[in-house]
């Protein structure tokens, strides 16, 4: 650079700004972790206290409604992935290789992921009450398929389009059937894409709130619903809320690490590879 001095100053500024961003993200999370590790009375004492530390909040959370909600969330999110992923893979392959339904179907699959959830939540609520699905975990899984299935299909669509066609053509020459090609060639080659789609489907279901609020019952509440009720109905339970938030974030934070590369691609629906 022409002026080395100013370039070094710029670098210091950049370094300082980057730290400011990182701290702005980390400090609120560390503060929450701190609150989760203190007894209820100390969690919101001001000026803040540092100790005595305890794991009691986590034990209490896991033994109470939060633990139940975590189990519900785990069950719902897992079922959404287990049911939705095979359906999404079939749909995505038909769209990718055979352009089934043309542009219209592609647009519909994309648009479904971006609907304002409230538009779908209202009729689902009314229909589930008529069908007796309101308040059940099965109903919640079905409702989640509405956004998770097209989301996973869109991610896989991009993945399938990126596979080299020659392998599939060679298999056809060797006498494989279309199903044989799909199950023995395409799916095994797409294992990373399937895994990423599964993780993202899990993450979306795990964090979803509006459908869960309207469609779950007393025994089927998921973790965001239970957390949202903690702070409003029973006054201020900082340590409990903090422990619940920490417990709800940990599984998805660990899972997301595994699909780092696909996270951005998946969440931008393929605009950034």
């Amino acid at each position: 650079m022409a002026v080395p001095g100013s370039s070094r100053a710029l670098r210091h500024l950049a370094h300082g700004l980057l730290w400011a961003f990182s701290l702005a993200f980390l400090l609120p999370l560390l503060w929450t972790l701190r609150s989760a590790l203190l007894p209820e009375g100390q969690a919101y004492a001001l000026p803040p206290v540092w100790g005595p530390w305890t794991l009691e909040n986590f034990a209490q959370a896991l033994g109470g409604p939060i633990g139940k909600a975590l189990r519900n969330s785990l069950l719902v999110a897992s079922l959404v992935v287990l049911l939705g992923l095979p359906l999404a893979a079939g749909l995505a392959y038909a769209l990718a290789r055979y352009r089934l339904g043309g542009e219209g179907l592609r647009f519909a699959v994309l648009a479904t992921q971006m609907l304002p959830p409230i538009v779908l939540a209202l009729p689902l609520f009314a229909l589930f009450r008529l069908l007796g699905l309101a308040g059940t975990l099965q109903g919640l899984v079905l409702a989640y398929l509405a956004f998770a299935l097209p989301f996973m299909a869109w991610l896989l669509l991009g993945f399938f389009q990126g596979l080299p066609r020659e392998l599939e053509e060679a298999a056809y020459v060797d006498g494989a059937s279309p199903f044989g090609v799909f199950f023995r060639i395409v799916l095994p080659l797409s294992a990373p894409g399937l895994f990423a789609a599964g993780v993202l489907g899990f993450l979306l279901s795990w964090n979803e709130f509006l459908f869960a609020l309207l469609l779950s019952g007393r025994d089927t509440q998921t973790i965001p619903v239970v957390l949202s009720a903690l702070i409003t109905q029973r006054g201020v339970l900082f340590a409990q809320v903090a422990a619940g938030v920490v417990l709800s974030v940990l599984p998805v934070a660990l899972l997301a690490r595994l699909v780092d590369r696909y996270l951005v691609e998946g969440l931008t629906l393929g605009a950034v590879k």
Binding site: A14, W31, L46, M114, L149, P178, L210, L227, F238, T268
Partner: protein, 279 residues
């Protein structure tokens, strides 16, 4: 031909599920929006387009739409600006890159309900650490600050996502144009504005549409932090429609408003689709 039939069979189960949980409910909602159906009087009394006319004449709905437009402009603008700055910083190869990347990638993974609770505790007017450090401002209870506070909490989370998207964009840019600019004696500033920024524009545009769509959906944060209040200071449109249906018990009126919101959204999605398929 056999391949096509196989494809139809493979797609069928997924399509049937989507018909059941998306297409049919949307049609049902449209039908409801043409009636006067409420939870108190669950009868399909035909109303034609009257519910749509009422929605467009409802001052609270119009207020919610206007407030949402303001909120979207505020959050999307801030998110893109901060996200771009942060992405450029992460792209510089400064020390501890892995650590910073880790810190930046955390907020986007948290459920919005969790984000709302974290900040509700930190900004609590009596017991929050920030209120303690900076004097007791009631961030969410004061109508002057409520919308801005809500927006800033949202921006805190969205900036994390925007930065990672733009960083991926920066990493995928070709290196030659930047090197050519450097050889020609461009300053880092010039190189950024005249080379990097134009190359990054498609990613920025995609993010702009995606973030706009995401912010129109804002519901969870409102529910946890303000419930639309104080008064109607943070009554964003998704929350207002929810209230209309479940507190006002007017399912078909809320349905009409939902459909109006859906039309606005579809226009944006069409824009995004054209954008995705152009490349």
């Amino acid at each position: 031909m056999r391949g096509r039939q196989a494809a139809q069979l493979l797609a069928l189960p997924g399509l049937l599920v989507l018909l059941g949980v998306v297409a049919f409910p949307l049609l049902y909602a449209f039908f409801l929006s043409l009636t006067r159906y409420s939870f108190l009087r669950p009868q399909y009394t035909w109303a034609g387009l009257a519910r749509y006319r009422e929605a467009l004449e409802d001052p609270y709905f119009l207020h919610a739409l206007g407030l949402t437009a303001l909120y979207v402009a505020l959050t999307v603008g801030l998110t893109l600006a901060l996200g771009l700055l942060l992405a450029v910083l992460l792209h510089q190869g400064l020390p501890l890159r892995g650590f910073h990347y880790f810190a930046v990638s955390l907020p986007m993974l948290i459920a919005p309900v969790g984000v709302g609770l974290i900040w509700k505790m930190i900004l609590h007017p009596e017991l929050g650490i920030l209120a303690y450090l900076f004097g007791g401002v009631d961030f969410f209870g004061d109508p002057r600050y409520a919308l801005l506070s809500l927006a800033l909490v949202d921006v805190w989370q969205q900036t994390s996502f925007a930065a990672l998207v733009l960083l991926a964009g920066l990493r995928s840019l070709p290196k030659e144009p930047l090197e050519a600019a450097r050889v020609d004696g461009a300053t880092p500033w010039q190189a950024f504005w005249y080379v990097t920024f134009p190359l990054l524009r498609p990613v920025l545009l995609a993010l702009l549409v995606l973030q706009t769509l995401a912010e129109v959906r804002t519901y969870d944060l409102v529910y946890v932090l303000t419930r639309g209040g104080p008064g109607s200071a943070t009554d964003l449109v998704s929350y207002y429609i929810y209230r209309k249906a479940f507190l006002g018990l007017d399912l078909s009126g809320a349905g009409a408003m939902g459909y109006l919101l859906l039309l606005l959204t579809l226009a944006l999605v069409a824009l995004y689709y054209r954008f995705l398929t152009r490349g």
